[in-house]
Symmetry: C2
DNA sequence: ATCAATCATATTGCGCACAATTAAATGTGA
DNA sequence: TCACATTTAATTGTGCGCAATATGATTGAT
């Protein structure tokens, strides 16, 4: 339960070396090792991918989440905020200010749906639609950072998408 | 190059349906499809994992990045901010306020290294070290959300860690 | 018609994540 | 010893990401 630690240490003092006992590891401590964690590998690689996108997307005046929103809109527009939220698995607290920034940059327009005033319809401007041309080279330029044969991308992607059960929100 | 679009549309008006041409796809447009993107799969699953951790880590009074910092410190403490940054692949702009919050919650102590006043040493408090016991059940409780046989976790984790070249910072 | 429940989005508050900058300490060479 | 580059964190500013809440619109039951 407790470490076989220095008995002199004060009750509120810092611990110099919090060692793990065999009992801890048997109870699950081995699974706490950062280098064994699938979740941290995913978290870390996701952060690093965003960093790799940054210089490419700076040329387009987009952040990575904004680029994702544009990918969705380039596939089909207009869409409501809710449809974007479903496609990106993000909520309105994230998307509303993101879309307002993109509107400020002249890439999209936001307007209430006349048929249902609760909805906000997001549509592409000319500039937003035209930006797709400049984005065409992004996937290939990013892919060159990956140490993965092209024919393994699809299977790995599908494996990762299948890791968690489909949205339970 | 350009869509065969409605010639009547105004120059600044919104585009109803920004279709993709065969020429676009030949130039790389197929790769812009969100559902084909490995990067989005990683980004999305990382967000969802953080959401799954939240209720478990709420019990410990930790966020997911704070939990990661604790994992590192539980393995070995004290450490400098720079060593934490290396281990977590995060920078000081992220870690400094995170560590200050954890200090405010009584989990760590921060002090300058007397031998090199540029360094800040982060050490665990009694409470911070003791929290490891409560964290032991977290990996197992999170893992039950994963649709992955246990013996496939290690290989998949190593595959993801090998996706990008080791830190080039 | 009215009211309650539901729905879609916006707002607020907090905590990352990182670029750019600042500041202080250290090391190095002339 | 005195520049001067380097190292290490902290600070500032911007943009996510989400919980909790608020606002307003719609639907449905009566």
């Amino acid at each position: 339960m407790t470490d076989d630690q220095d008995p002199i240490r004060g009750a509120a003092g810092p611990l110099p070396t919090p060692t793990m006992t065999d009992a801890d590891d048997a109870a699950g401590g081995e699974l706490l090792r950062l280098d064994r964690q699938l979740c941290f590998a995913l978290y870390s690689v996701s952060n690093r991918i965003t960093r790799l996108y940054r210089p490419l997307l700076d040329e387009l005046g987009l952040t990575y989440p904004q680029y994702l929103a544009m990918l969705v809109l380039w596939e089909r527009a207009p869409r409501t905020v809710g449809e974007l939220a479903d496609a990106l698995d993000l909520d309105s607290g994230t998307l509303t200010p993101l879309l307002k920034r993109m509107e400020g940059n002249g890439l999209v327009l936001r307007r209430r749906d006349p048929a249902d005033e609760r909805r906000v319809i997001v549509e592409l401007t000319e500039a937003g639609a035209a930006l797709r041309q400049a984005a065409l080279s992004v996937p290939r330029r990013l892919a060159c950072h990956f140490a993965l044969p092209l024919d393994e991308v699809g299977p790995l992607r599908d494996r990762i998408k299948a890791l968690l059960p489909p949205d339970q929100s």
